[in-house]
């Protein structure tokens, strides 16, 4: 729906978006150039842009980006697989689900940041402590969606499938799995985003590489320009990943009525 709307608005929308960007950057520039805001604390938009351009020419930048993306991908895949397995297991076994329910809720309510130092202690300062942090974030999103997807299969579709002669195995393949995956895919934006958050936060709290590490380094020497440059890079990465996820989603959920997509 939104996509169609965007297309209809076309150039007008793009113009407004650029307008908002220009207003923010222009305001920032004027305020720092006139000294209303201290450039030491707020940096300058032009400096930030130049820093980004300089950074992307460094090989170190690309290796940091590669590490963050690797952590993100690993966290997403491991968290999704665990979430799918647990979601299925608990949705099909109501008693086990009832037993685990309070623990899952308690664990999910915990701010995951507090786990970062523990993971660093257990898994060291390499990529795996960041992956673990991302997994704890991705797992719950996928888990709850798969659980819901299995439980919410329409009773009529299920009865029809059984009348068509399907047994447990075929029901899993043709009914439960597609339903669960459709719920999971509709939360792809959130789960991929959280995988990235896990990686960056983990790096920020303790590591020797990655985008989060770059931001942390800049911050520890009061290099505000460096911090903002890191944030800009992060924002661009998120936008690119989000566009990719939208593209994948559109292909995986072709069977969905338009109104039901989250795109």
């Amino acid at each position: 729906m939104k996509r169609n709307g965007e297309r209809r608005l076309g150039l007008g929308l793009t113009a407004w978006r650029l307008g908002v960007l220009a207003l923010v950057l222009g305001g920032w520039h004027v305020l720092t150039a006139t000294g209303v805001l201290q450039p030491f604390f707020f940096s300058k938009p032009l400096d930030v842009a130049l820093r980004v351009v300089r950074d992307v020419q460094l090989p170190r930048f690309w290796s940091d980006l590669g590490i963050t993306l690797t952590e993100t991908a690993l966290a997403f895949v491991i968290g999704s697989v665990l979430g799918i397995l647990c979601g299925f297991a608990l949705a099909r076994h109501p008693f086990a689900s009832a037993v685990c329910d309070p623990y899952l809720k308690a664990f999910n309510a915990m701010p995951r940041v507090v786990l970062a130092p523990i993971f660093a202690l257990w898994l060291g300062l390499g990529i795996w402590s960041k992956v673990a942090l991302g997994v704890t974030l991705v797992f719950f999103i996928v888990f709850f969606n798969v659980y819901q997807g299995v439980r919410e299969v329409s009773p009529t579709i299920l009865a029809n499938a059984r009348m068509l002669g399907m047994k447990e195995r075929e029901l899993f393949r043709h009914v439960y799995l597609p339903s669960a995956l459709s719920w999971m895919f509709s939360s792809l934006h959130t789960s991929v985003g959280f995988a990235l958050v896990g990686a960056v936060v983990g790096e920020y709290l303790g590591s020797a590489a990655g985008l989060g590490y770059r931001i942390h380094q800049a911050e520890s020497v009061f290099d505000v320009t460096g911090v903002f440059a890191g944030m800009v890079v992060l924002a661009i990465v998120v936008l690119i990943i989000d566009a990719l996820v939208g593209w994948v989603e559109e292909r995986l959920l072709v069977w969905r009525p338009q109104a039901a997509t989250t795109a």
């Binding site: 009529t156 579709i157 009348m163 068509l164 597609p178 969905r256």
Partner: protein, 286 residues
């Protein structure tokens, strides 16, 4: 066999019929346990036999338990008492010989029309190519040859019912169970779907149990119209043979004098039940 059946409490007179009887509900009753500990007897002990090649319509006011009886024959609901015999054998679990057309949306929304029909054949053990080929041919027969790759949400309500019909018939079941299948459709589409159903049914005349609340539809399609009373304690209160020539045009037949005569006779019986149903509903509200 006879001793065994007697031991199960089934009269021998009924067992003898099982050769030509496709499905037999014998003293089937449905009772629900309510949350407050009391019982609600939805369907009183009911006996109904469906013969080979017979098109039986089960008509009754809304909420009389006719769909529940259908679900007993399908094996989706276990009767609280009584037995359901399929070709003389006591039914337990899903009735594998029946094809079921549901009232609600029953197609898998993540599969195309073609895949929805083919999957039922693959489950039967047909190789994928053959299943797809047969599904294609059945979708052609129901007039959807140009819509094979559409997903259910891209089809109209009537088209989805056609896919459902192809899905059921492609598996060549020995009996068809239909639960107000054309209920959600508009009047014109219903007439067309009725005709399509009759046309396909005419080819090999499987036994059909067709549940509907629409008396006209029942008379137009069936060989026999069975009337159920309003619940609770719903039971069969009328069983009318329909002597209209076949093959029929499900729409044209409604204009024949014989149709009007039959309709009047059955409506006399049904009307009282409908009024009783309203009265009970009002009492329950008050």
């Amino acid at each position: 066999m006879t001793t065994l059946e007697r031991a199960r409490g089934i009269p021998t007179s009924l067992v003898g019929q099982s050769e030509q009887t496709v499905a037999l509900l014998h003293d089937v009753a449905i009772t629900y346990h309510l949350a407050d500990g009391s019982f609600y007897e939805a369907v009183a002990p009911t006996t109904l036999a469906i013969a080979e090649g017979e098109f039986v319509a089960l008509v009754g006011p809304t909420g009389c338990g006719k769909s529940t009886l259908l679900n007993v024959v399908a094996g989706l609901v276990a009767p609280s008492s009584g037995t359901c015999l399929i070709h003389g054998d006591r039914l337990s679990g899903i009735n594998g010989q029946a094809g079921y057309l549901f009232q609600a949306e029953a197609l898998m929304p993540w599969k195309t029309a073609l895949a929805n029909v083919a999957v039922g054949l693959e489950v039967q053990g047909l190789p994928r190519d053959e299943a797809t080929e047969r599904a294609r041919s059945w979708l052609g027969k129901v007039g959807l040859g140009a819509f094979l790759q559409r997903y259910p949400h891209q089809l109209s309500g009537g088209q989805r019912k056609r896919v459902g019909l192809a899905q059921v018939l492609a598996r060549d079941p020995r009996m068809l169970l239909m639960d107000e299948p054309f209920g959600p459709l508009d009047a014109q589409t219903r007439a067309i779907m009725g005709d399509l159903l009759l046309g396909l049914w005419q080819a090999d005349r499987k036994a059909v149990l067709f549940v509907t609340h629409d008396l006209e539809e029942a008379i137009a399609l069936a060989d026999r119209v069975v009337i159920m009373s309003a619940g609770p304690n719903a039971s069969i209160i009328g069983d009318f043979p329909i002597d209209l020539a076949r093959p029929r045009d499900a729409h044209e037949v409604r204009l024949q004098p014989a149709f009007v005569e039959t309709h009047r006779a059955i409506w006399q019986v049904l009307k009282e039940e409908v009024l009783k149903g309203y009265a009970q509903a009002n009492e329950a509200k008050a």
